[in-house]
Symmetry: none
Subunit: 239 residues, 2 copies
DNA sequence: ACGGTCTGATACATCCTGATACAATTTTCC
DNA sequence: GGAAAATTGTATCAGGATGTATCAGACCGT
């Protein structure tokens, strides 16, 4: 394949499709963006496509239906955009043969990472599909299930996390002990750069602490580095 | 990181090294220029460096060798200066883990652009990482836990350190007996250069002494070198 | 001993962070 | 579709950490 992969984005919402296309183009990816399955069929005839990013919910031909069609007629990898983190969507998604899926609202950076992972997998051949990785993190008294996006404590009590809290926590768990600036955290969790006097991260940290810390006033897991940012202190296990 | 990145230029040719250093300094970059890998190692111990510009062809330790060493022991980005536009150089350069390379003769403006690009990348995309090894320092009656950033005395009493105090103490403990100027300490603790009449370090030293010295009026651990700076006098164990 | 320079200590100004309240936005539900 | 709920972003204040100004005393060379 080429140095720059060619991605076909299929989504009927312009406000999702176009920013996503711009984002991908800024990151060494050639993009064709269309608004319907019909337009996608046309684009596939006109150019070589390395991967399709496909919204499930679309008027006209449905995303699942189109995905099934792609699997029957081609080997092009597919990443589905699912409206919400619902099991039904995932299961159906896997049944129709998608390679991965991302739940809306999605982080463009995360989607890009998954695109690259899927392409890498597709290139390294063995055409069998790997199951989508569901990682579990353990720290302090918590277990974090990345597939369900919630925290479970020793006693089995479930604490739900919002999308932002979840991303922040994962960004920190992936880099234990490392100081991450607000700018970096904003990039990792929202895919954007900090505005002057941007306190969004501080706020999200404060909210996350209220959920994971025993005493949010004296945080022991998510600690502040004055003038530097935040970092995760404490033992992290991945499994 | 700070507003002004600190670049270490390593090249044995003075007629390349010095004009390059002057050019970079005119463009909001702090520069340390040295002529050998050995001198570079020394500079890396004395200051925080954000990026290394490294000539491949050098007498003594070779640039590629030094680059490999940097990659094994640090995360500092490296830009290689290769003698000519040969594929072999490029390939080897990437193999040893350089972030970018520039072929001589190079345009300083282009090099500066690449420096900024590499630093931006390094900042915005902190890679996933294993936990940083938690080091413990022992000196006098104190134990310093770098993972929690606090001091514990013989009796188990905990003395919290601020970020600035912690960094100052670690900078000194890592170089026991060595005299460090205010300029060096400011670089090591804040990543910036001293302004005229800058007393920030004096002040931080005074604050740290109040916490670690038995008699802050007669310091025995963190001593002053008149006209030179400060140094750590006590016995230090790392473990 | 003397004057200039450097350092320690104090007081205060400034910058950074945590918390709260509320506004804007997005998502869910009907 | 649109309303309600949840999530996220912004403004503001209070408290803590750090930087700056200042003065008094220590150090150095003469």
């Amino acid at each position: 394949m080429d140095a720059t992969p060619h991605i076909l984005v299929v989504d009927d919402h312009r406000e999702i499709r176009e920013p996503l296309a711009r984002y991908l183009e800024r990151h060494e990816v050639r993009v064709t963006a269309v608004e319907s399955a019909a337009a996608a069929r046309h684009a596939l005839r006109a150019a070589v496509v390395d991967l399709v990013v496909l919204d499930i919910m679309m008027p006209g031909e449905d995303g699942l239906e189109f995905c099934r069609h792609l699997r029957e007629t081609t080997r092009i990898p597919v990443i589905l955009l699912t409206a919400m983190a619902e099991d039904t969507d995932r299961i159906v998604g896997l049944e129709v043969g998608a390679d991965d899926y991302v739940t809306k609202p999605f982080n463009p950076r995360e989607l890009l990472a998954r695109i690259k992972a899927v392409i890498r997998r597709a290139q390294s051949l063995p055409p069998e599909r790997e199951p989508v990785s569901a990682v579990m993190w353990r720290f302090d008294r918590w277990s974090l299930h990345t597939d369900r996006r919630d925290l479970v404590d020793d006693a089995g009590v479930v604490t739900p996390l919002s999308t932002g809290e979840f991303r922040l926590l994962v960004a920190l768990l992936e880099r234990p002990g490392m100081v991450l600036s607000r700018d970096q955290l904003l990039d990792l969790t929202r895919g954007r750069r900090a505005a002057p006097y941007d306190r969004a991260v501080d706020n999200q940290v404060s909210r996350l602490r209220r959920k994971i810390e025993r005493d949010p006033g004296n945080p022991e897991l998510l600690t502040t580095v004055w003038g530097g940012g935040y970092r995760f202190t404490g033992k992290v296990e991945r499994g």
